[in-house]
């Protein structure tokens, strides 16, 4: 229930930001009578209604429905946060360092964490997949992937 209230709050905040940004859009009176702001304003209102509805739902919830989930272990959230950061890093250097290098390193670490202990499988998969996918996508399918620091 607590999370639902947080969601309502965040949603209202988002609606406020969106409506504010909408008000900043300059209006030209030519042509269609509504202009670029009309639909967004309706959306902003709809979002506010949605947030209010959510609050109403939390208030009306039967006791049997609630049953607060036991506090999720924060350890998992740290883990996902870590994966996110590692992926951000991967995406940031993707262009500069090139597909082959960045992806192999990325996969090596990821498989190392999530498939612990099976070094041979992890290293083999990371390297083979990277090379294989590069060949498949760049050579055969004609997709453009960054070369980065490598000369080929």
């Amino acid at each position: 229930m607590r999370t639902d209230r947080i969601i309502s709050g965040l949603t209202l905040l988002l609606a406020a930001v969106y409506l504010y940004a909408t008000s900043r859009i300059p209006t030209l009176e030519i042509g269609d009578p509504l202009g670029p702001k009309a639909f967004p304003i309706l959306l902003g209102i709809a979002l506010v209604l949605g947030a209010i509805l959510l609050v109403i739902e939390t208030l009306r919830a039967h006791p049997a429905d609630t049953g607060e989930k036991p506090r999720e272990s924060l350890h998992h959230l740290w883990l996902i946060g870590g994966v996110t950061l590692w992926t951000v890093l991967y995406f940031s250097v993707f262009d500069a360092v090139g597909y082959l290098v960045s992806t192999s390193v990325y996969l090596l670490v990821m498989t190392g964490v999530f498939n612990r202990g099976k070094w041979i499988a992890n290293v083999l998969t990371s390297i083979l997949f990277t090379i294989g996918s590069y060949v498949l996508f760049v050579k055969i399918l004609g997709v453009v992937l960054p070369r980065g620091i490598l000369s080929f």
Binding site: G31, L34, A38, L47, L49, A51, H76, F91, A121, V143
Partner: protein, 496 residues
């Protein structure tokens, strides 16, 4: 109707096969669903003939329904949301040594229901398209409103969350240069955003990356898996007899639920399971390995897949997350699904529909004898699999525009998708809203322009009024239904 001429072209036969094959694998694999699979594949198909590409993607869509049941039965882990019901009795059947029968009935039931569904699609398509031609912008707007309302209210328990998800999708759709006034909106000075947020970026982020994050978490929590090898892959005469009617019923329920917008396949399977249980003479045995509990839902989810193609092709309105991605694919090829498509490119539409007949046959063959092959995929360690999907997501997104900003945006949506899954905000409404958002706003403004800013244009025609009424019904449904159920179960309780 020369659809078969198109569908039987060798290259299209190949693509049908490829689609069904990949679809089955995607269905079997945890961590990736048909929506993500199609989304990841779209950039790869840019050079292809649109008909062939769409045939392949449709193959992935209905193929995934076949694959998802395999994991439900063998390891009690549904590959798709629509396979959840199958796991209830299917896994129990596997434990009782009847895994082969469960797999067989699900493949055969899916085939029968799927084929009937495609026939129904063929029959319904033309008259529906004719009706759709009478739709003006006001009617289209009401139709889209109805579709979004239906999806919001039918997915999940909270309609408020459905509405929030929908409106968020619509808002994202407003980012970019407004076509009618040339005015940039919400671009925050970022030039890449002038074309709006890439549809694929959102899809890959929400469905592929987001799903992987959720699965990584589950993996770390330690899901124990028991893989059972299947028994003989055939049904006894008695099992056949018991399965036929559930397949027929499931097929009907599935098709009609699929035509209606809103989480067609998943809810159809739940309905089918509930119906079979209610009709059965031994309802208490459901959950212990009743073949009706597998045959019905499996037929339902395949029929629903065919059903959901109906509004997509005839009206241009997707009814679920996966069909929304399919629609996105159509748009990327510059094709507008809807009644005009039947007139302008009948070869594409009928080629696609007829390829589904062929695909269904291919899937039956793939799923009966070759099932062992697909099960082997499950032996790949989850940690490796999930990591690879992330790498593939990077390729997919980067290959569209070659800019890393989109990679980061996809990741953002991935985190969003992960958060949404944790707090039970449904994803399908957002994707649907994103796909329809632009068109919806255009219809709204066109209608208002025609009427000179008079909002009564939306209640002018019979069609619009009907749709608006249905929209209200959809919104009120989650409020009214629980009351009805309480009222109904009252008298039953006093019997026991």
């Amino acid at each position: 109707m020369n659809g078969f001429n198109v569908a039987l072209m060798p290259i299209n036969l190949w693509y049908t096969f490829l689609g069904c094959f990949m679809g089955t694998i995607i269905g079997v694999l945890p961590g990736i669903g048909p929506a993500a699979g199609i989304g990841l594949l779209i950039p790869v198909t840019f050079g292809m003939d649109p008909t062939s590409a769409l045939i392949m993607m449709a193959g992935i869509y209905y193929g995934a329904m076949y694959g998802g049941s395999t994991t439900s039965i063998l390891i009690n882990t549904p590959g798709e949301a629509s396979s959840v019901m199958t796991a209830l009795d299917g896994y129990q059947m596997a434990k009782n040594g009847r895994a082969g029968a469960a797999l067989a009935v699900s493949a055969i039931g899916s085939f029968i229901a799927g084929s009937l569904g495609i026939v129904a699609l063929t029959v319904l398509a033309v008259p529906l398209a004719a009706v759709a031609l009478k739709f003006g912008p006001a009617e289209y707007f009401c139709l889209m409103l109805f579709a979004l309302a239906a999806v919001s209210s039918l997915t999940g328990k909270s309609i408020a969350k459905g509405i929030i998800s929908t409106v968020l999708g619509l808002m994202i759709a407003t980012i970019g240069i407004d076509l009618q006034s040339g005015q940039p909106r919400y671009t925050m000075g970022v030039p890449e955003l002038q074309d709006g947020v890439g549809f694929l970026v959102v899809v890959v982020g929400l469905f592929a990356i987001g799903e992987v994050f959720s699965n990584l978490e589950e993996h770390i929590k330690g899901r124990s898996e028991i893989i059972r090898l299947s028994g003989r892959l055939w049904l006894t005469a008695e099992e056949w007899r018991r399965s036929i009617m559930p397949i027929v019923r499931g097929g009907l329920i599935g098709f009609f639920k699929g035509v209606l917008p809103g989480a067609g396949a998943t809810i159809a399977t739940m309905l089918s399971y509930t119906v079979e249980k209610r009709i059965s003479k031994t309802p208490e045995k459901f959950g212990t390995g009743m073949i009706e509990g597998v045959a019905g839902p499996e037929a339902a989810n395949n029929a629903a897949t065919c059903g959901s193609m109906v509004p997509l092709l005839t009206l241009g309105i997707p009814g679920s997350g996966s069909t929304a991605v399919l629609m996105g694919a159509f748009i990327m090829y510059g094709i507008q699904p809807g009644p005009l498509l039947f007139e302008k490119r009948p070869d594409l539409v009928w080629g696609l529909v007829d390829s589904m007949y062929i695909g269904n046959i291919m899937l039956l063959i793939l799923n009966l004898p070759l099932i062992g092959l697909f099960v082997r995929i499950l032996y790949i360690p989850t940690g490796i699999l999930l990591s690879l999907i992330l790498a593939v997501s990077a390729i997919g997104v980067y290959s569209i525009n070659g800019n890393t900003l989109e990679l980061h945006m996809a990741l953002m949506f991935g985190v969003l998708g992960y958060v949404f899954r944790k707090v039970d905000i449904p994803l399908a409404p957002m994707v649907l809203a994103l796909v329809l958002g632009g068109i919806m706003e255009q219809s709204f403004r066109q209608a208002m322009t025609i009427s000179g800013a008079d909002p009564k244009v939306f209640i002018h025609s019979g069609i619009s009024i009907t749709l608006l009424v249905l929209t209200v019904v959809m919104v009120l449904l989650p409020v009214v239904l629980p009351r009805l159920r309480e009222w109904q179960s009252g008298p039953e309780d006093t019997d026991s």
